[in-house]
Symmetry: C2
Subunit: 318 residues, 2 copies
Amino acid sequence: MKGTVGQLGEFGLIREMTSRLTATEAVRLGPGDDAAVVAAPDGRVVATTDVLIEGRHFRRDWSTAYDVGRKAAAQNLADVAAMGAVPTVLLLGLVVPADLPAAWACELMDGLRDECQVAGAAVAGGDVVRGDTITVAVTALGDLRDRAPVTRAGARPGDVVAVTGWLGWSAAGHAVLSRGFRSPRAFVEAHRRPEPPYHAGPAAADLGATSMIDVSDGLVADLGHVAAASGVRIDLHSADIDVPSQMTEIGQAVGVDPLQWVLTGGEDHAIVATFPADTKLPARWRVIGHVHAAAAGQVTVDGAPWDKAGGWDHFGDQ
Amino acid sequence: MKGTVGQLGEFGLIREMTSRLTATEAVRLGPGDDAAVVAAPDGRVVATTDVLIEGRHFRRDWSTAYDVGRKAAAQNLADVAAMGAVPTVLLLGLVVPADLPAAWACELMDGLRDECQVAGAAVAGGDVVRGDTITVAVTALGDLRDRAPVTRAGARPGDVVAVTGWLGWSAAGHAVLSRGFRSPRAFVEAHRRPEPPYHAGPAAADLGATSMIDVSDGLVADLGHVAAASGVRIDLHSADIDVPSQMTEIGQAVGVDPLQWVLTGGEDHAIVATFPADTKLPARWRVIGHVHAAAAGQVTVDGAPWDKAGGWDHFGDQ
């Protein structure tokens, strides 16, 4: 694939991009018409949208187009999973400069497609327009398969707080990259391409999760949303929160308490949920805290407020 | 509402924006969680997304935030209607500069909300991020209510081509504005705020439409998509295409053949469809052409190619 998106033109680019796609049974009508038609057997559809901007949410010198596509898909698919739903499709709204290599847009599409496949979903449509800044607006849809959606508002005093997936890996990778290093590779990879545990969302719903959220802004920040919506306090037990030894080494190297990455690092899209205390949780869930009635709306760590730098603020000066 | 979006911060701005919204029965779970939950009683959902960028698709000195919201909603809701579906919800992905007045974002939301109400839909969720260029990415969902979707691919030789809604009004208004005038008001208003005939989409499906599209890029360009997808030629009869006398006057004033606005002007979101020749069409549909087998993929006017400037190319230098 040679040339820029300006040379290829709107329709040429769209043709190239859609030629990369594979469909699933849920895609009743794919790209190329006024709208897509997607199966919604439950009779309800879960829908979420997120916007990524170059220079703010990704950098072309740190991440390939393919990785940006994986990441953009992952964060939306994780939002669907965190409702207890199974992702079905993505729609892509893409802004591209005229001088962008067309290959970049096509590799972005490859990344979106492959991350969709991990989650059992497919890209069903989109829009491409020209603009100065690469902007990737992704909408994900999902099907609840007769489950009640698991919101942020259902945590109850006495519940346990449990998490599955990765915590702090993307933040540690970001710290490595921002200091000009390219390794340890596992953390850099985690920053470029998160691996949300999609299956865990619907599974948690089936296990009776009372509230659920995916960790996109940081564990403390996102549990803060649950605490506020549920009218409870969530207390985390630092002794139960695993800090990998390699992350500790990176922390020592760059002078950062690695627990801060685990507690406040976003973008790994772990799934955290509350469950009744007697729930038998599968091995991949770790109980990391409890839900309390007093001091509602707060998140504490070992009973005290966590006062270090908070979660990712998309309006902050990162 | 005072201050900039930077002063209000991400969560403050989202709170202000969502406080403007009204819900419908279709919104089972609105903004504030990982994802919205939307009724999809048909068991399928129609989904489409479009991106608008400041300076390219709208100008703040020509259109208010409210009008941009109406227009962004309209073009997506029209895409849903043109499949034969009833719009249910919108999701908004919004990029805003930190120095943008927060009131602008809130008035945009008012416009999205009010245009949704016209179509029986509601805003169900979204994402707001900071960036240099105002970018409005809208996704619309809709319900087919047991209808088969009406695609671009079903036009058959012998069908009539019929249109309902406005043609060329937005383009005439654009011509007026780009020459520094603010009147005639009706055309300027049409450019700022299209009025798609949403109800006509599902109605056309019920009348047996064989293909359908909304006119977003221009009548000839959009019928070109139908001709290509259906493998037919579409011939328009210029004598049956109404050019309002006021549009003729504007054309004389600015030196443009007004038929060009009618044939190639986009963004009014009229709905054009093909029907079996014996279909009894309601009064608001005008038959403007016929479908032929020979010279498939072409659109002709009175039997000859329409060789003047084509439809709106989003990658062109407009």
